[in-house]
Subunit: 251 residues, 2 copies
Amino acid sequence: MDIYNIINNHRSIRKYKSDNIPDDVMSRILNAGFRASNTGNMQLYSIIVTRDKGLKESLWDIHLKQNMVLEAPVILTFVADINRFNKWCEQRGAEPCYDNFLWFYNATIDAVLASQNISVAAEAEGLGICYLGTTTYQAQKIIDLLKLPKGVVPVTTLVIGYPDETPPLTDRLPENGIIHYEVYKDYSNNDIDEIYQTKENLQETAILIKENKLPNLARIFTDKRYPKNDNLFFSQDYLKVIEKQGFMNNE
Amino acid sequence: MDIYNIINNHRSIRKYKSDNIPDDVMSRILNAGFRASNTGNMQLYSIIVTRDKGLKESLWDIHLKQNMVLEAPVILTFVADINRFNKWCEQRGAEPCYDNFLWFYNATIDAVLASQNISVAAEAEGLGICYLGTTTYQAQKIIDLLKLPKGVVPVTTLVIGYPDETPPLTDRLPENGIIHYEVYKDYSNNDIDEIYQTKENLQETAILIKENKLPNLARIFTDKRYPKNDNLFFSQDYLKVIEKQGFMNNE
């Protein structure tokens, strides 16, 4: 079935041609995003479309100078947004109370559902995409650059353009590593060995271990890629941003 | 293009036939979920597949007795999961530090991306889906029922089965209500009137206003559907669950 040709061939694209995306293609993929499920049909998200060279350079800097941000013609920043809904409520004499964590979380889910529809539609159009996890790390800088008002917080970012590479498919854990039937079955030591075996035995894993001079792949994650100090710093920072943007009035 | 026939015809299905979903179909749609982008290819989520009648009855009760939970053959509960990754790290002598908000949020995004791939694939297979926003409201009860260990928190739920209804497409805000070019352009009073005009002029809106004896649609959201006390209660409750499950060690 056609859909699996798209979904099962997804790879994150990190090298892009400079070709622009035609307006009709952009409009189709954005509208595919809007059709995604969302909480109470309130659509508590916005999407900032960045094509301007100067702004892309600033985003490149913010997203830790990953070159794809400069190369790709379009950057989409997905934001949780209660600002628009609040304004509507206030203009109608209704008293909104969505400036709390529940609605930050609902808005996050809605933004991410829209982003994935856009990703699938973009790939069906021959475009490539890459998500930028650096969005939460750099939320305040993105707020300043994209002039996000109170009630609006960056959730994730998509780089979109015509691919200039075809990287291999990345590995995934086996089905029984993710799926639990009826209730959660906790993992035995044996289960863990089996689930991570393929990933640990990849040639690229061997190369990474050698390059990083570490005894195994798990240590590369904990010591190099996502170390403790970064995790704690960015957790505190993002929570501060959520509060500052007015999403933590929980009492 | 085929993909738009699927994505642009999405409607949430709330009435299901009792037909089971064949194993090969389930396996295809679940594996489509795994192919979604995810943070650092760590796949920090699990999916609980519930088909058991007794467990479905308990889930029906938990999800505020929405009958589709009983009718549909399969309920998928998507959970943020650092338990599996932590066990792997510890078994390899690596010291994981993912028990903080940043990684709860990353895991949430990953779970939601997988859920939307599964939704799109399911619809391509002729299945219907509905997301259950009640997942966050009832997180602790779901944890107890599905035996979720520390490091695991419910994010969202999908009801899946063969549709026994074809509801009309729901409305969406116009493109200029969601999209901002280059930077966020805040909304004028006029913008708000225009963006919400179609929604406010729907026949179903007129019926809702009459039924609820309220002056407008915004008041139905603030006074009836998602009122203040519920929002504050569920915000506090979900934050407590996130902390209790070990995702708030941010210092």
